[in-house]
Structures are given as C-alpha cells and as structure tokens.
Symmetry: C2
Subunit: 335 residues, 2 copies
C-alpha cells in the first residue's frame, strides 16, 4: 500500500462503485477466517455509514470464536429475494471461493467489486482492488474508510483489527510493515481491544484442539527441510474436536528451525482432503497450491483434493519436494 | 507507566545513579530470557552512550536464539577484577536471581540500582525503579533512554524491542497498552526488525522441541479448570531436545478455553523440579509461586523445588487447586 504502488490500483473506481451501489450484496469466502468475517462486517458498517442497506453473505456460519464481533448475526448463508445492483467480493482469490451464495444465474450480470490481498487473485471482478502488499483485506478496507472519511468507531475498529491480527498471527508474519503497526495502533486507540481479539480470534482453543495437536505432532514426518503431518477423521472423533481447523499444527511444523516447507493433510468429509502448506521466508508454496486448484500467499497457501489421504500425499509431496529443491537451488545460485 | 503512577517512582534517583556511576557492573538474571538479555545489552549501549565502560554479566550464557543481538558476546559469566562503583540489577525480582555473578562479599557495599517490572520484586536495591505496569524491563529502559536523550539507533532499538516482544509474546498479553504498541512502532521505525525478533526470539525452535511438545501435550492432565503436565529428563534424551525451556508447553495449556490455571513440572538436573505456572485473565498464580520461593507476574510465575516430580506435584497442585477455588469464589461473589 505504498504510494508508489497504489497509483496503479483502482481506488477511485472502487470508491465510485461503493458510492453508486444502492443495494450491495457483500460476500466473503466459505470456511471464513478472521479476515473474511472482519472484512465482511467492516464493509457492512462502512456501507451503512454511507446510507446503504447491504446484505452480508457467507456460505458457512461465522465461527463462534468470532461472535465477539458486532453484527455477526446479520450474516446470512442464503441470499434473500430482492434486487441487488452491486456484488462485493471480499478476501476471495477467485469466484469459486464465494461458494453457493454467489448464484451466477442471478448475479453474473451485475458489476462485481473484487477486494482482496491474495497474490493469487484471478482478477475476476469488474473492478479489482487487489493489493498483495496489504497484510489483510481489512487493511484495504481501512484505507477505503479513510478515503471515504467514515468515522472510526469501536465496532468498525474491532472488525478491522480482527482481520489484521488474525492474518498476521498478531504481527508475527513477514509482511508486518511499520504501516501495519501504525494502523493497528490507530485501531486500538479508536477502542478496539487487542487482547480480546488476540485471545478470541487467535489463541483460545478448546482442550480437544490441544489433544488433536498432540496427535498431529506425534505423526510428524521430516525429510530434510520438508515436514508434514496428517489429521484423520478418526482423530476428530477420538479427541472430540469439533472445529474444522488443524488446531495450529501446520504453524507449529513451519516454526521448526530446520524446516523450509511444511504441509498438513486433513481428511474431511465426502472423501476430500484439505492441504495446508507453509513456507519459511524466501520460500513459496503458493505455486504448488495454485497448480492443484488452490490459492494463497507465498508463505501460506492451501488446496482441496478428492480422494484418500494416501492419494493426496502421493500427489502433493513430490510437488513440494520439487518446489523445495528448485527454491533451494535458486537461493544457492544467488550467493 | 502512566503519568499518575510514575510520579512516585524514583526516576530521578535512577537517572542520577546512572550519571554518577563511572564503572557500573550490570547484571541480569540467570537462565536469561529475551527481556533479560535485551535489557542487559540495551543498558550497556545506554551506558556507553553516556561515556561509561560497563561490565555486563550473567551467570548463564546468552541463548543462541538471541545471538542476533548486537554485542551479545560481551556478556561475561565471571566478573573480572577491577573496581566497580555501581551495581545495576535488571529484570531480577530478588537478589538471588542475579546468581553467582553477584558476589555479596565484594559488591554489597556498593549502591545497587534495581530496575525491574515484576510485581513480586522485593525492592532489594538502594534505588528501586520497579514498574509493574511496564510490559518488560526494556520498556523501563526505553523511558530512561528518552529521559537521557540517548539517540535511538538500530542496535539499541533491537535490544529494547526484543524484551518487549518476548515478554508480551509479541503483543499477546493483557498488559499490552496502546503505549506499548506506540513504543514498539517507534522502535520499528528506528530500524529494529520486528520479524527477525519474533522469529528468532519467540517462534523458531528446533524439531526436537516440537517432539518434546508432543510428549508434554500427550501427558496433559485436566481437573476442572486446572491443567498440568510434566517434562521428564528422560523426555529430553528421547527427543534430543537440548534447550532448557518446556518448548512452549505451559503456554499451550493455558490457551485452552476451559483452563484458568495451568502448570508444567519440569525435571531438571541435581534432583530439582522447575514449575512454570500460568493464569487466565482475572486469575493469579504469582501468590503460589512466591509462597514456594519463586516469583513472577499474576499471569505467569514460577519456582524451583528440590525433590522428585511426584513430590513437587504433591506440594504444588493442592496450592493451585486452593488458589483456583478461592479466586473462582471471589469472582462469583463479585457478581
């Protein structure tokens, strides 16, 4: 979001779309995380401040950990009847990430404002405000709030800081610039509770998640600078873990000094496997994820495959090994 | 460090001591953590900026994870010959925490400037600059740097931010005020690398630590809102973990939503057991730690006992159960 880079970004087109749309439908991605929910609710507050009556939609329910967020109960999973004149997609790298709430038959003819910070974004909107240098989608919305002179009250600051905190693991990622810290400070000064957001959005988890983490860590496999593990459906039953995350497992794997690339294979219902990948600084897993139909950032990406855990590992691990070898070669030849 | 509270703090006496001492001996606590090392090296830089030649001492070596800190190799574990005219104790809640480098026969007659942020500090100095509202001892040194108009360069900012980041788990603790965020921002703007400090000081750990964490999590015991686990000497051998921490185990236990008080019993050499305790907001483990000869903060405290793991559990768990029951009663009666 440095000035030199923002000049080519369609801020004005985005602002115009926001000001022109009378009945916007705002959609965030399925399996919403903190930035998805935070940006959805922040955009809702922004649009209300502009005098609009937005509809906020997400295919999946807002996770209970984010129920401290104001107006979370206004998010719908079925888009009601009514005529919209603008669709706003938030934190979605492609159209498919919007899930079932994006009914193309009904909505494809409308202007689509695509606001996102994923470098893998496919620019599928009419206006594409895609800012890969932003640490979160809420950071982009913060900029819109500033440009529209919308007052920064406690609810809005709380939604915005939630995205910033959860996507940076509370300022731990490499993309935390002084500007990110300054925005965080302004949001805290506006009344957002950093501690609540960190605890509810990031730290707190049920005991069952710790039990799942213990199982996942005990299954860790290491091969040179690559580590992986798996979470089976049976593990969820055994530990009683109800959530759909990996309980922080992949984050632990990449935190190891020896590891450059890490992956967790998570068995989910309907015979699918979700794969989360992480890369240490200087390494990139977004290419592998994109090639497998997923997306993400260089340091954190993912995809979903049909088939068994074993089939998923057989398909993904060779790609990760190759990416690691190639990137290590690249780093050596630089020196 | 709010103005209303600082008026009673001996800032002027501390500044006078710093300006008068020609040959200061600066000591931080044994088993140094990031705030111990950060405040030691920051004080060294501050004193050099004042034209002094400080001796920086710590009983135990600076952990390799902090070897990114400038001048870490200047820290000595044996105090050299020579005459000192001031002792500065950093981040030590009592005289004993300074360990063997504080030779009372030689040093007890000298003025002792005690700079610390632990609420359990025993005020054992000639001047006691004890600021429990500070998130780290480096936050107090930052204030001294400001009052002495010492220029904030990259090495100094790096040392100061290291203490702030490690003691707040990178802004995750309840004592992270807007002022803490503002100081962090200033230190980052002065050139400290937040990412390096977070990664090296907090996140990175060897694979063997993940293996130790897996063992510790698998041994978790839960009793109502109390959780505990243990790390045996044999676990270190089995996992190959060389460090002396609990690999983040107690932090994971207290992160569970159901848990109000958590403890980890760590078997160390010479027949002793180190106990780390953690409390959720509104709960306090510093009283139990203090009663057992240890110290710390309400949310994080610890002590060391002689004897076996079983003996330590038999002694500590009833105290934790009682503290929890009492504090839960207190909370209920408030409502």
């Amino acid at each position: 979001m440095k000035t030199s880079k923002t000049t080519s970004l369609p801020w004005n087109e985005a602002l115009r779309a926001l000001q022109q749309g009378r009945s916007p439908l705002v959609i965030t991605h399925r399996s919403p995380d903190g930035d998805a929910v935070g940006s959805l609710l922040a955009m809702g507050l922004l649009l209300k401040a502009l005098g609009r009556r937005p509809t906020l939609a997400c295919q999946d329910p807002v996770p209970t950990r984010f129920h401290y967020l104001p107006h979370h109960q206004e998010v719908v999973s079925e888009v009601p009847e009514g005529s919209f004149d603008l669709v706003i997609s938030l934190d979605c790298s492609d159209r498919e990430r919007m899930g079932q709430v994006y009914d193309a038959d009904r909505l494809a003819s409308l202007p689509l404002l695509n606001i996102d910070h994923h470098v893998t974004n496919l620019n599928f909107g009419t206006v594409n405000l895609v800012v890969p240098t932003a640490a979160s989608t809420t950071q982009i919305i913060y900029e819109l709030v500033q440009r529209l002179s919308v007052p920064l009250d406690v609810p809005l600051a709380t939604c915005l800081l939630t995205g910033l905190v959860t996507d940076t693991l509370a300022f731990r990622t490499a993309n935390v610039t002084p500007q990110v810290m300054e925005i965080a400070l302004r949001l805290i000064r506006a009344g957002a509770s950093l501690y609540t957001i960190v605890q509810r959005g990031l730290v707190e988890q049920p005991l069952s998640a710790l039990r799942l983490l213990a199982v996942g860590l005990s299954r860790m496999q290491v091969e040179g600078h690559l580590a992986w593990s798996e979470v089976r459906l049976a593990d969820r039953e055994a530990t009683g873990y109800q959530g759909d995350s990996d309980a922080g497992l992949v984050g632990r794997l990449i935190s190891a000094e020896e590891i450059r690339i890490a992956a967790v294979f998570k068995e989910v219902k309907d015979g699918r496997v979700e794969i989360s990948m992480r890369a240490a600084p200087g390494y990139d897993v977004s290419g592998v994820a994109l090639r497998l139909g997923g997306g993400g950032h260089p340091a954190a990406a993912g995809c979903t495959l049909n088939g068994s855990l074993e089939a998923a590992k057989a398909r993904v691990l060779p790609l990760l090994r190759a990416a690691l070898a190639e990137q290590e070669d690249g780093r050596h030849s630089e020196h």
